[in-house]
């Protein structure tokens, strides 16, 4: 509730009567128990000042929408007005319009995945799928398995339903399935059955890593063996800059235990808020009922806009264009990291998507580092702790390369590198020694803490290069 928030209905400032702290805290007494999990954090205070115009922000998760030609947009809207004004202005069916369902099948076909239109639910952004999954499956205290790190935006969705989120480590091949199985065994002994396993298997947000084919197969097997649902969140797979595409979990599973989350946000527009779920019929029907209570239907304007756009049959050209743009930006970021980050740092090397995940020595807290980076260097990133529910991730950071120009990426990484170097030097001074071991020197996968240090790929590559 903003400053003018009140039970009154008048415009701001017209509210009559006296307002006191006592009256205001009275609302807090009425809040539902679940809002206790919906807290704002000091980190949000920090993120609030990343919006200043002078700040180079690698913190966003934004696609670059400046590449969509305004003339094309205008033509689409004109054509839409001529053909469908009344429909655009009207409610639509909760499950979505048939035209857009066809567009979704086309996108899924490009992902080598065939789907039955009856299994599709059109949603208000992919984010709504997270909410509807929780609404459908989660009672307070129910377990959701997620990756460590996981998509930071999923955490508020899960917490709002008071889920107990358990995070499973990842490495360069995605979720550690052995750790998953061990965790499932432990939960079974405790008599707890997770409601679903949440994964972003391809170009993970925030990790940037992709689940290998072997692990995809094994995850689907585990789901079948234990009759558990998997929520496959797949916004980025068409943004592949190198390597061969991998099958979706949905296609490996055949639609029995995998619920698929898709979105137009990264291949067309995030602002139209259009996503979808593909789910086994009973699940899809229950989610559909849940959606009725939330918003009756997804925006008809957005759906018909997409249908009109797809009718031109140029959507894949635009995705090609984005791929080229982001590939160059990713390369700029990886180069800048090599150049400006100290030897103690490691980072992932994504084959697609929008994010690089960098991990610093564990004595550096990236939330504090962000404060210094903002204050002294006008540069921002997402502190790693945002991607964990359990306080891990404190020395990692998420860097976005899709939303900034190459120059800004290079300069931003250079500035962050400077602050990191200062912290490393300061720690060395304080301990009277060069900072100790780096993650790459540790034995892989021994202690739990090591799971936070996702990958050491670039270091290996660097060594290999040096050896040549």
């Amino acid at each position: 509730m903003g400053g003018s928030g009140s039970l009154g209905t008048g415009p701001r400032g017209s509210r009559a009567g006296r307002s006191s702290a006592h009256e205001l805290t009275r609302y807090a007494g009425l809040f539902a128990a679940r809002t206790r999990e919906m807290t704002s954090s000091a980190m949000r205070d920090l993120m609030a000042i990343t919006q200043r115009p002078e700040v180079i922000s690698l913190a966003g998760g934004n696609p670059d929408t400046t590449t969509f030609p305004p003339s094309s947009f205008a033509a689409l809207m004109t054509s839409l007005a001529a053909s469908s004004t009344a429909r655009v202005l009207q409610y639509g069916p909760t499950e979505g319009m048939a035209e857009v369902t066809e567009c979704i099948r086309e996108v899924m076909a490009a992902e080598q995945t065939q789907v039955d239109p009856q299994d599709i639910l059109v949603t208000t952004g992919g984010q709504q799928v997270l909410d509807l999954m929780c609404k459908t499956f989660i009672d307070p205290g129910d377990v959701i398995i997620a990756e460590a790190p996981t998509y930071p935006g999923a955490i508020p969705s899960f917490s709002a339903y008071q889920a107990d989120v358990i995070q499973i480590g990842i490495d360069e091949d995605g979720m550690l399935i052995d750790e998953l199985e061990a965790t499932l065994d432990r939960l079974e002994l405790e008599g707890r059955r997770p409601k679903f396993i949440y994964t972003v298997p391809t170009f993970q947000n925030p990790g940037g890593v992709t689940m290998s084919l072997a692990r995809r197969r094994r995850l689907v097997e585990v789901a079948h063996e234990r009759e558990l649902l998997v929520l496959e969140d797949n916004p980025y797979a068409l943004l592949r800059y190198e390597g061969d595409p991998l099958p979706t979990l949905l296609s490996l599973d055949g639609g029995e235990f995998v619920v698929y989350l898709g979105t137009f946000s990264k291949i067309l527009s995030a602002g139209i808020r259009l996503g979808w779920a593909v789910a086994p019929r009973p699940v899809r029907d229950k989610m559909n009922t849940g959606k009725q209570g939330v918003d009756l239907c997804t925006s008809s304007l957005s759906q018909l806009f997409v249908a009109t756009y797809f009718a031109e049959r140029r959507w894949q050209d635009y995705v090609d264009e984005l791929r080229e743009l982001y590939r160059v930006r990713r390369d700029a970021m990886l180069e800048a990291l090599e150049q400006h980050f100290p030897a103690e740092a490691t980072w992932t090397r994504p084959q697609g998507g929008m994010f690089v995940w960098a991990t610093l020595p564990d004595y550096i807290d990236t939330t504090d580092l962000l404060a210094r980076a903002l204050e002294e260097r006008n540069v921002a990133f997402v502190p790693g702790r945002a991607a964990y529910v359990d306080g891990r991730g404190g020395s990692s950071m998420r860097l976005n390369f899709s939303g900034s120009s190459e120059d800004d990426i290079r300069e931003g990484v250079r500035r962050i590198g400077e602050v990191v170097a200062e912290q490393v030097a300061l720690y060395g001074t304080l301990t009277g020694q060069r900072p100790a071991e780096t993650p790459a020197q540790r034995a892989p996968g021994v202690a739990d803490e090591d799971l936070a240090d996702v990958l050491h790929l670039p270091r290996r590559e660097r060594r290999r290069r040096e050896a040549q």
Binding site: G2, G3, S4, R12, G13, R15, A16, R18, S19, S20, A21, H22, L24, T25, Y27, A28, F31, T35, R36, T39, S40, S41, A42, R44, D45, L46, A48, I49, R52, Y363, I364, D365, T367, D368, L369, A371, R372, E375, Q423, L426, Y427, T429, L430, T431, G432
Partner: protein
Amino acid sequence: MSRVAVLKGGRSLERRVSLRSGAQVEDALERLGHDVTGIDVGHDLIARLHELTPDAAFIALHGRDGEDGTVQELLEILGIPYTGSGVGASMRCADKVLAKHAFRDAGIATPDFFAFSETAFKQLGAADALQAIELRLGFPIVVKPADQGSALGIKFASAAADVPAALVAALSYSDRVLLERHIAGRDLAVSILDGVALPVVEAVPQGEDFYDFEARYEIGRTAFVCPADLGSDVTDAAQQLALRAHDALRCGSFSRVDLMLDGDGSLQVLEINTIPGLTETSLLPQAADAAGIGFDDLIARILAPALAVGPEPR
């Protein structure tokens, strides 16, 4: 009716709280019949103030720039009367180290401490003194940035191995760092208004964490009890100590003094906030309410001295 500029936002780490405080204050001032303009403090602050020529500035800024004397100094130069403490008191309170020295000099109990600049570590080998400090203070030690109002950067060090990382963290927010003996006990806040101590507020953390500073002023994660459930002697002592601290640092018409009550029943002053939060859940409005002073009344009383000064430079 007076023309009042409400200064809020800015670029401090407490920007969000300040925007909420500012909005609350604006609403109250409008209800009080004033001509109110909110200003999100930025590069154009002076230009906006020149243009507006307010009768007074209500400073609803927290943290760096707004609470440390910087904005106060600018308002002095412009000859615009403002709410709260003057430049000197703002500087003394915003700097936890200066404040603690002033407490100590005035014989006001405050937890033992040492303070260093980043330069001392880099140029003077202060790291070699850490062991002696740890010995003198004993663990756990609280490590704080010297001049940063929010909870960010405050760390516990429960053993020597935690100290360097805690210092790196604190020095991310400030060029000086305070190492303070941790006082286990109850967390009290006494707000001062017009020379009178308001009812004591106790902050009772609800979390599982032994002490999560970031949860401290978050409703739901901390329960606030006002008036705090203390004996009348402890209440009196807390109020008197807070008033002494407020006076010792020569604070203006209001402030919030944070205290610890330890297991032996002794009280120590941690710090003074010259512009405590003025949001719906902030402690000063809660304490005022417990004293029968409604929010609008509180805001009127905070504004009154500034309006009384008139437009001459102080």
